[in-house]
């Protein structure tokens, strides 16, 4: 079985930041492997270690800077990586899930994986839609918000648990090939070993342009027109001072409310 894992590099924001037009000013932004994708990579690597998968390939939409994040996924055990990028993409502001799915669909067409693992969402734009949109485009089955995958694929199906609201899980069988969007907590993502990090440097990381994928131009359906800090819904009382002072203020409030009496 061949597994394709979608790996995103997400933007992280420092505690104190400033907004510059419709983006957060560059100096307050960092980058990281998307939390949900970390679990997806781990699941794929575990399937490989259990001899259920023979190849784990990652795919990322992103510029060259994303290579450091891609190498993290390779260091954790993926075999090789693809990165989709093009100058045309740099000019598109906010990539909408449909456009991301179009790009990934072209990669799925080339790679023909049996299973695609994607994160439930990305931590920055949080659309939570790309994996399922991809499944539809390539004619695969799918399941969203999977927090357990049976490591056994009888009759070409995957048995999963979908995490619904309120502590309820749905037990579902999904025909393969399929796209599963992976929820945090499904496993315990490993830290890359030093050996893994060294090996990752030598693993193939191939860049594909729109031309390579046979896609003519991209255009996001979404235009980001404003960004601002949300207004507070409450009239928050902020206690100032050192920890002893603020703890004292909170203790008074708690006593007033009859706590621990």
């Amino acid at each position: 079985m061949k597994i394709l894992v979608t790996v995103s590099e997400v933007a992280t924001v420092e505690d104190a930041f400033e907004i510059d037009g419709t983006t957060i000013a560059d100096q307050y932004l960092g980058a990281d492997l998307n939390e949900w994708d970390d679990y997806a990579v781990e699941e794929a690597v575990q399937l490989q270690e259990a001899d259920l998968a023979d190849e784990v390939v990652t795919v990322t939409i992103g510029p060259e800077d994303a290579d450091q994040t891609i190498r993290q996924a390779l260091a954790k055990g993926a075999d090789r990586a693809l990165r989709v990028w093009d100058d045309d993409l740099a000019d598109v502001g906010l990539l909408d899930p449909g456009t991301k799915a179009d790009l990934l669909a072209a990669v799925v067409d080339d790679e023909q994986p049996d299973l695609v693992l994607s994160g439930v969402q990305t931590g920055d734009d949080s659309f939570g839609a790309t994996g399922v949109a991809l499944a539809d485009r390539v004619g695969y089955q799918w399941a969203a918000v999977v927090n357990h995958l049976e490591h056994e694929f009888a009759d070409d199906t995957a048995s999963v648990r979908r995490e619904l609201e309120g502590g309820v899980e749905e037990l579902t069988d999904v025909d393969l090939p399929a796209v599963l969007t992976i929820q945090t907590g499904i496993n315990e993502p490993r830290y890359a070993s030093l050996r893994g990090i060294r090996q990752a440097q030598r693993k193939p990381l191939e860049v594909q342009t729109l031309d390579d994928l046979g896609i003519e131009g991209v255009d996001s359906a979404l235009a980001l027109t404003e960004m601002y800090e949300p207004e507070s819904e409450t009239d928050v009382t902020v206690w100032e001072g050192g920890a002893d002072d603020t703890a004292g203020d909170l203790a008074s409030l708690l006593r007033e409310k009859g706590v621990a009496q």
């Binding site: 839609a129 949109a133 539809d136 502590g167 235009a223 920890a243 603020t246 706590v259």
Partner: protein, 317 residues
């Protein structure tokens, strides 16, 4: 194309609250467009559901009786056929776990763009202006999209539609292609059981990723003991296996409404807030003054939990 079609959400025989909220969101957009609001409820006891969904502002409730529980292929086929019939400008879907399981594929089938997890919507008939958060709620944005679209709406953002309406209830016949059903639901399981029910607690000392290491949880337990309170947490603490699932507050955990909720090193992501927003008094201890939890807190300490928590425990010893 001036109509709006909104999809109801139900599970195991009950309509979920978002089904009434989406009626309000849908009415707002239909008013913007000068059109009708159609709801559709698919699978299960649809006649009973339809009677409940007939609230103020709803023009038509369509029922599709195929299927018992949610199955994405039935939903998609039904909505695709209904959309071809009534040609709505916008198809609204709840941003629930099931909504996110079918809306993106539905958008693909309808060849429409999708925008998800919206918290505000306006349209002039052609351009949809949607408000949504980014970066875990640190900022809000507006995004615009042109023409017909599929839109998912966040729960608990719009008020529920109330009253009894005079909607027309129409049974809609769908031709389901059984060959296209590629998944089977075999059952459900409740997973957050156990000895402690955090929903019963009057005071919750709730810990998040700011605690950093499992061994640091000791200061949280010490505080809870001193306050005679119960320990709960955000999701990452449970994902890491540091606390059992029955301690998790939020969308996929428990909904709690204690007298006092002390959020320690918790950022206040929407899925967490969904489980504790109804608490009577919310106190946040967080180094980040911009953390979204501050937007719903009543009292806040912008400081390091490793300083504040032990100092607070001491006050009660």
């Amino acid at each position: 194309m001036t109509d709006v079609l909104a999809i109801a959400d139900h599970r195991r025989g009950k309509l979920r609250d978002v089904s009434y909220e989406i009626a309000t969101a849908g009415r707002g957009l239909a008013d913007d467009l000068g059109g009708d609001l159609h709801l559709v409820v698919i699978s299960g006891t649809v006649d009973d559901f339809a009677a409940k969904l007939d609230r103020d502002g709803v023009d038509v409730v369509h029922t599709v009786s195929d299927g018992e529980e949610y199955n994405h292929d039935i939903y998609i086929q039904a909505i695709e056929q209904l959309t071809a019939d009534i040609d709505p400008q916008y198809v609204l879907v709840p941003n629930s776990v099931n909504g996110l399981d079918y809306a993106p594929a539905l958008a693909g089938r309808l060849e429409r763009p999708i925008v998800t997890d919206t918290i505000g919507l306006e349209s002039d008939g052609e351009t949809l202006v949607a408000t949504r958060e980014m970066y875990g709620g640190k900022v809000e944005t507006t995004v615009e999209l042109e023409g017909p679209a599929v839109v998912t709406i966040r729960g608990a953002e719009w008020p529920k539609a109330e009253g009894t309406g005079d909607a027309e209830i129409r049974s809609f016949d769908v031709e389901i292609d059984d060959a296209a059903l590629g998944s089977t639901v075999n059952g459900f399981e409740e997973v957050a059981g156990g000895d402690v029910d955090i929903a019963d607690a009057d005071v919750l000392v709730s810990v998040g990723r700011g605690i950093d290491e499992e061994e640091n949880l000791e200061i949280i337990h010490d505080l809870a003991d001193a306050l005679d309170a119960t320990v709960s947490s955000s999701r990452p603490i449970v994902d890491n296996g540091w606390l059992p699932k029955n301690r998790q507050v939020g969308q996929s955990g428990k909904v709690v409404t204690p007298d006092v909720y002390i959020a320690i090193g918790i950022s206040g992501a929407v899925q967490h807030v969904a489980g504790m927003k109804g608490s009577e008094t919310i106190v946040a201890i967080n180094t980040d003054p911009n953390a979204p939890i501050m937007d719903i807190a009543d009292y806040a300490i912008h400081d390091d939990l490793f300083d504040v928590v032990p100092a607070l425990t001491e006050q009660f010893q």
